[in-house]
Symmetry: C2
Subunit: 747 residues, 2 copies
């Protein structure tokens, strides 16, 4: 609830109380969203408003300045604009990434102040209080200035409303400060109610600086500034002429100017003299194409409509999306973590195209136009595991447009995406996950795109050994079955290629392309050559085929670099062959040793809930007849241990919704155990009833219900589909979506 | 003539030979222009093409890099993009100032290269040969690449034509390098034939950095690039994160991108693969308003027309302007230095408005629109002395538009201009010269502007003692009659204010404003309080009224700083009271001591031909009956000593045409001896006949002829106006322009 100690806010307060009363009493899915979840413990979520898959978003920015402990952005590898424990606010960034592992975006910082204009964020920053975060809404009191900030957003426009006390008030737009490590901006005050400009961002994960790119914006103010201007702090010149430059390296204030200013450290100030408390709304349209498009996005999405109107609209949009899954029988916290997780899966991939359809193609060699949605921010190494299968089930139109976006990238770039970010290919992480996502989507029945092109693209990435940016080390892989220690993360990469190749073999099967079915099926099992029977672990081999020595399976935990594995160690990658669990079981000597090894990982605390390679592990007990209860217990335990209704309520980096998707599935009692292969494995749902509404454009049934029947709360006794026992803990996607009710009966 | 050793150029060569043959045989005034004059000896002229009063111009840029001795731009105070003695060329700048005393503009550098793209100007720079410079045309061979560059310009568009050999060729557009000390630029490759962007310039004379401003451009290429891209060299980041930034501080190449890039050190490259020798034309439109306007300027002024068509058009424009004065009976060198000087007076003030009439108002608080021409680059401390009187005589419409521009500045800014540069007021130098220029223009009969506003503006500058940016020290001046040594250059400034006040008294007379006639007449004589009878010199007084001690009259020569005077010393300022020469004579004790003192300045070598305070001195002998021959001799001597048909052919800085105007007048045999007061004094013309065509919009007579009759080559015997003896060496502007022939008869 919004608490206002100050009776000056009374009018606004009454309005909000009425407004929220209605929604609170209704307890709609969107009301359960708690955007603070994941804003601590490296979750990398931000608490500010965003529309579903929005291009624009607003985050309080509290990671700059030494006053911000524990998490100052420049003192470490920090990937989020906001950390819940920090206390020093220096603005509100207008474009942000959620749940990523590298610093990026977090730029175009709006900041209200009072009194004289101060442009140094270390000086104008403030503590803050009374934060409120909800779906599509965030508000906060900025202590130093007694200013209240409220924020909402449409898809491409962020809207800020500042309530200022009487006196001189200022709204700063700082284009120097930012989370990104890129520098460079341009700004122009168009009129006393409008600013336009751009900010350079890029070099995601400190890579590919040549791909740094602009984000354009237009900011419109509801009240004309009494005074406006631009500042610039130039770099210091060292040379003979410096003796005549009394201004060398000093910040410059440029009042009342409409000229274009560029620089690394620039900004604009709008100043007001208020006789009484006043509010100013600032609407900031965003575009990755041009200033003109940013202006058009603003005009067409928001125009003259009020903050409240836009908030209501975006809230409704969230509610509609989140209502695609209705849960019953959970506690308030259960509902909160569930819907917040679902909310997190609806942030990335996000919209890249402007409202007129324009977007920059990969590497920005031209501007293209789409009639659908062009999506961006494909963290595919993470999301292929569960996010995209979830989208295919619940939001198939979005998933279809994501596939179309990926295929458009292939047209633009010659390659499917790997880790695409605002039309740059960051080549972060390893593997060739696009093939898995496409196959998975296709086999779940989402097929309204050019599958011939997709298959061609998959094969190109899988077979092309020359200048293949997707699959480094492919020659070795094809020849030897594995990457050697001459490559980065050779075991992990081999496993990733295996999973992709398995997906390709499934797709080849759809095409009746028998040779490739066989070839890629075989390729998908080559990880077996890295299985060290003595250790029951996968282990790197050197170029001459020998085991890599010395080998410490535990090395590589906590993102420590190691030979063999990427972001993990031999324990965490031990079971990451989801397409060949039975083969792995055989390698290990059968069900018992398999089960023992799986259990051991948990027991010796090598299981990492916070990173992707082993997140399916708890479900693998379902492959061992009679031990399925271990999966049920383990999933329940992990959910309760790592997912909470609090800022630390994610196990770590959300990885653009992958951790959240894990939770959504886990709480529903199903999990897409083998990405690419459309099957689910089943554990105990955490709600009495879950109703998934199906999109009639893609599915025959209106909805599918997962129902839990608990007798004594024990292990699952039977699973019924439409009243008929399944006799297995696995169900195909087809059977699932063409059923009506999946009933899980616990002893 | 264009010399081509390479027979590959044959076709082009034949064309040019034909073309130039015609113009050479015709010996039109424009054919005499030698743009190399003033490109050495600190003349600060540039040899490249410009249209009369053009906004755009192209100069070879050879002042960067240690290889450039004697004149490297960053090792000293250097105010021109080209120095004739230098040898290392790093491009062709597209906006340039001519004959100014501070480094400014000299940006947007185009450079052709061959082979691999190299973006470091120290590496891609080259020696050059076979320079040809003419009105509206410059060409040069770039040795390192065997590329020929040819250049012409329309008013707002520079056009470059490069003839490349077979192989890989590149055209670089470097936005980092520049003569200005400002940094910051923006660039975007719009298509394989177009680039748009802006460059920050400003801080003229290392002043007013907050007024730095953008120059916008659009560059269009006649052939689409086979490959294009942008580079950026970012500033080096120092921080914890630098450890992950392998690219820290390194230049980045961004191929095939149409994204906007900003930075201090950026540029663009267009690359071609040619099977044979090929030419590429690059047209660069300029605007101080916006990129859109730059594009419109390019489209409407040049469009698809060829280099040759534009060259012909601008050549014709020059010829028409220069033909306003026809000279007969001079040597080729006489004609050359005369027409080149006239050419130099037609460069600044130059056009600021775009072709659609838009221009930025002073300080850029908005964009305004004019139906006339908005002029800029008013170096009024220099130009009030002779440039504007010359414009009133020969180009009265231009002079009228200049007055309108100055009055518009008053409307925009509240003050008349002092040293206006591209809508920034640089406040360089001292005095309040705008009043003199307006009065001078008005009294010469050019009156189609709002003289009431002008008079109001003049009085405001002259009387307002609070926050008056034009007249610092005004309180002292009004109270004591002079500025004290508490102010900068108190004697010089007092003299300047005196001259302005005299002009105001003349204007007050026009208004019948008797009080002000008297008041300002009295004020104009206050310099007398600084006259030290013992020294026969003006001398600074301290705040308590005492002479400043110790006083060395010689201190302050050669721009040395000194107490009392600005850019000069007591000798050089000794006679700078053009409105009260008779009063000064009285102070000195009559004609004899006056003449002796005047002669002494020349004899002890304190006369400075290269700076404004004393440039009227030679003419002052005309005030001494019987010594007028000294003026004749001295002027002749100075013309021959300082003005030559060679790069060193100006006495020093041209001061936006002031030195050149001095020459034009001196060669015609008349000089506007008292700015503001429309009289000329007369010496011996250096041509047999000079015909000045008068503008029928302002003058009754079609033309006025100055004729020389030399009997034995001795001193002037008599001067006749329309056959009637004048009996004086002075003539009013009215009598002059309403006569038909001024005949100067020498013994």
């Amino acid at each position: 609830m919004i608490l206002n100690r100050n009776n000056k806010f009374q009018t606004a307060c009454i309005f909000y109380m009425l407004f929220f009363s209605i929604t609170i009493f209704a307890q709609e899915p969107a009301d359960y969203v708690n955007p603070f979840i994941g804003t601590s413990n490296y979750g990398a979520a931000f608490p500010g408003p965003i529309a579903p898959r929005g291009m624009a978003s607003i985050s309080p920015f509290n990671v700059a300045g030494v006053k911000n402990t524990p998490m100052e952005k420049d003192s470490q590898w920090l990937s989020n604009p906001y950390v819940n424990e920090n206390t020093f606010l220096t603005g509100f960034s207008q474009v942000n990434l959620s749940g990523v592992g590298c610093p990026e975006l977090g730029v175009i910082l709006l900041m209200p102040t009072t009194g004289n204009v101060e442009i140094d964020h270390l000086k104008y920053g403030s503590t803050y209080s009374n934060e409120v975060a909800k779906a599509a809404y965030y508000s906060v009191n900025i202590d130093k200035y007694k200013v209240k900030g409220e924020f909402t957003a449409s898809k491409r426009v962020g809207i800020s409303r500042f309530t200022f006390p009487k006196g001189q008030s200022n709204i700063l737009l700082n284009l120097g400060l930012g989370l990104t490590n890129e520098e460079g901006a341009m700004i122009k005050v168009v009129s006393p109610t409008e600013i336009e400009g751009m900010r350079s961002v890029g070099s995601f994960c400190y890579n590919s600086p040549e791909d740094a790119y602009p984000v354009y914006f237009v900011a419109q103010f509801s009240k004309p500034a009494d005074k406006f201007g631009v500042w610039k702090k130039p770099t210091k010149y060292n040379g003979v002429e410096a003796q005549w430059m009394g201004y060398n390296g000093k910040a410059r204030m440029m009042d009342n100017t409409i000229k274009t200013v560029v620089g690394d450290s620039i900004g604009s100030y709008f100043t007001y003299k208020f006789d009484k408390q006043e509010t100013v709304e600032v609407k900031i349209g965003i575009s990755y194409v041009s200033i003109e498009n940013a202006r058009e996005n603003l005009a067409k999405e928001v125009g003259n409509r009020s903050f409240d109107a836009i908030y209501k609209e975006t809230y409704n949009e969230w509610n509609e999306e989140l209502s695609k899954i209705l849960v019953e029988g959970g506690t308030k916290d259960d509902n909160t973590i569930f819907y917040t997780a679902l909310y997190h899966t609806l942030i990335h991939p996000n919209t890249l195209n402007d409202i007129n359809g324009e977007y920059p193609v990969i590497k920005r060699s031209k501007i293209a136009k789409t009639k659908d949605t062009r999506y961006t921010v494909f963290s595919l190494w993470d999301t292929y595991r569960n996010v995209h299968p979830l989208m295919s089930l619940v939001y198939p139109k979005q998933q279809s447009d994501m596939i179309k976006s990926m295929l458009d990238m292939f047209d633009e770039n010659g390659w499917l995406p790997k880790w695409e970010l605002n039309s740059t290919e960051t080549f972060t992480m390893v593997g060739d996950p696009a093939s898995i996502v496409i196959t998975d989507t296709y086999l779940r029945g989402i097929r309204d795109y050019d599958i011939n092109k997709a298959y061609y693209a998959m094969l190109k990435g899988a077979d092309n050994t020359e200048n293949n940016p997707l699959r480094p080390g492919l020659k070795d892989y094809i020849k030897k079955g594995y990457l050697t220690t001459d490559n980065k993360g050779p075991v992990s990469t081999t496993q990733e290629y295996n999973i992709s190749d398995y997906a390709i073999s499934l797709m080849a099967n759809e095409f009746g392309d028998k040779d490739n079915v066989k070839r890629f099926k075989e390729r998908s099992l080559s990880y077996r050559k890295l299985f060290d029977k003595n250790l029951n672990l996968l282990r790197p081999r050197t170029a001459n085929g020998n085991w890599y020595e010395p080998f410490d399976p535990a090395s590589g935990a906590n993102f420590e670099e190691n030979v063999g594995f990427i972001e993990g160690n031999a324990w965490q990658y031990n079971f990451m062959v989801p397409h060949d669990i039975k083969g792995l079981m055989k390698l290990m000597g059968g069900e018992k040793p398999f089960s023992a090894q799986l259990q051991k990982i948990f027991d010796i605390k090598q299981f990492d809930m916070a990173n992707e390679p082993d997140i399916a592990n708890p479900y693998l007990f379902n492959y061992v007849k009679g031990e399925e209860y271990k999966a049920q217990d383990m999933v329940k335990k992990l959910v309760h241990e790592y997912f909470k209704n609090e800022p630390k309520g994610l196990p770590g980096n959300d990885d653009t919704g992958t951790m959240s998707a894990w939770l959504v599935y886990s709480m529903m009692g199903i999990y897409p155990i083998s990405p690419g292969d459309p099957i689910y494995t089943i554990t105990a749902p955490m709600f009495h009833r879950v109703t998934i509404k199906l999109d009639p454009r893609y599915y025959k049934k209106e909805s599918i219900v997962i129902e839990r029947q608990i007798n004594n709360g024990g292990k699952i006794n039977s699973i019924e589909l439409n009243g008929k026992s399944l006799n297995t803990f696995f169900i195909s996607h087809d059977d699932f979506v063409n059923g009506t009710k999946l009933k899980v009966i616990q002893n």
